[in-house]
Symmetry: C2
Subunit: 314 residues, 2 copies
């Protein structure tokens, strides 16, 4: 199990490499939300997403012998870039298994960070099989995007920073896909600020987490259609129990609300954020939320800013 001490150690480990991201505020957003909103800007993290924290913690925590054999993951998203950069910083090999239908631009990004890309058929089974093969053949360490203690501890460092940056938070709102960020942050938040209200937010079109918590076991994500492509994953076996224990509430937001929140953040907060990053903003702008009492000081995590600028949803 990950505890506050693990997260503190992760913070020390990644400190020379990761960025302390700023917290921004926005008068118009406060007005619309009816409360003070503190935006934790993980879109300004290295590789443009919080994922760098966990990947960096995992890579820098390897002993030299394991490190020399490299790391591997299967992903076409921000975790792939994060692992590629962290491995590059340590001077070790990263192999990224990617489905053959992954956008060219994502492949180039990962290669740009110096990783080796291995193409496979676009099925979950093929991705896992190829990654396993590389583990067996090269002795590389497999690093999951979220279901890994090192990753959870790394993502949890986001709350340590936030805790130093904003006093007396009443609520914490975090995007929820595989649950790495929410579980990590919730451990630190519960330990440092026991009464804080912790809320996960997922897209209505990928609301497997709420259902999983409701029925008490992990429900796999159905074929995902949401614009929030970073939140299409199911909960992991490690993240699920942490979320059940620490999280007070899971909300869901429509894709329309996500696009609208994204526009507000671009236009008013002047920050480039991807759809997955703004589900928390979409949640606090919903009438069912603005009408709630309390939570006068609410932190919302903007989780990333990687998207194709030539294909904006407005």
């Amino acid at each position: 199990m990950v505890d506050l001490q693990d997260i503190r150690e992760a913070a020390q480990r990644i400190e020379p490499y990761a960025r302390t991201t700023p917290v921004e505020t926005c008068g118009m957003l406060d007005e619309l939300a009816g409360r003070s909103i503190f935006l934790k800007c993980e879109n300004l993290q290295k590789v443009g997403a919080f994922k760098f924290r966990g990947a960096c913690n995992a890579v820098m925590g390897l002993d030299d012998e394991d490190a020399a054999r490299g790391v591997v993951t299967h992903s076409s998203g921000n975790h792939a870039q994060a692992l590629a950069l962290a491995a590059g910083m340590r001077g070790i090999k990263a192999t990224i298994v990617m489905p053959s239908d992954a956008p060219r631009v994502k492949r180039s990004a990962v290669e740009g960070y110096g990783a080796v890309v291995v193409e496979c058929e676009p099925t979950q089974e093929a991705r896992e099989r190829n990654a396993r093969m590389i583990v067996e053949r090269e002795g590389a360490t497999f690093i999951s995007p979220y279901d890994d203690h090192r990753i959870i501890a790394g993502q949890g460092t986001t709350y340590l920073e936030l805790h130093e940056q904003v006093a007396e938070l009443d609520a914490l709102i975090v995007p929820l896909g595989g649950g790495g960020l929410l579980s990590g942050m919730s451990i630190a938040a519960r330990a440092l600020n026991p009464n804080i209200r912790i809320i996960g937010v997922e897209p209505e079109l990928a609301d497997d987490a709420a259902e999983s918590v409701r029925i008490g076991r992990i429900v796999p994500q159905r074929p995902p259609r949401t614009i929030a492509d970073g939140l299409r994953t199911s909960l992991g076996t490690l993240t699920f129990p942490i979320i059940r224990e620490n999280v007070d509430e899971i909300l869901s937001v429509s894709d329309e609300a996500i696009v609208c929140a994204m526009h507000v953040i671009w236009e008013r907060a002047k920050l480039v954020v991807e759809p997955s990053a703004v589900v928390g903003v979409a949640a606090v702008l919903q009438e069912s939320f603005t009408s709630r009492a309390g939570m006068g000081r609410t932190a919302v995590v903007l989780s990333g800013g990687n998207l194709d600028l030539s294909q904006l949803p407005w």
Copy 2:
């Protein structure tokens, strides 16, 4: 004349209202530029532009009697929004004279901050005449977008912050339109860091400042066509001599380079910036600049982030 003391007083005056904007770095930008670039993010300033600093200094510095009669300017750009917000914060009236062909969205923005908009014919003469009329009729104080000591001192506070945020700067690069930001920052920079190299950047399609300095008198801007709409103005009678004295060099950049720099900042630094804001970035990415020795630590001001998100230039 404006001096460091005026700028320090301006900083104290605006401190309760303006934002201390962050300085961001971006690994990819450093690589492309071949030096360490520090981005001073005035796009994250109130109203999305450095203009709030000067407008706020001017409004908050009025004595109560003058303040009661309100303020007036003619502008359809960021200065109008800045003055409207500053006046609203002080609880006084702001009147903005705007050409009848100004985009609807700019008018709404200013009205959203509580200012009164007076429409006039779309000529410089009509704008000035209408503003003068309001000064005479209402006793309002006219506040120029740049050619005013209070404005220059207010914009200069940007350098005071930068000086605290980044040690040992070798160079400072600032967008140049009317010259308010460059002249204010140059006064603070020369006083606090005498050897810093100070560079103004203007669009090739609005390069009146370089010509003015070359021939020693203010050359009016020809009909402007550049995409950098905030930099289409000519130098002012106050800003011109300050720039002649303090600025080492004036560079110009093409509109193509501006669009390219804007894309780099959006995609890699995850910041929403307007075309006028990135002329400094375009300058440091030019081959004629990347090949220069020295200036290992260069600050570049991103001056604003207000633009129509539905009409991006790519």
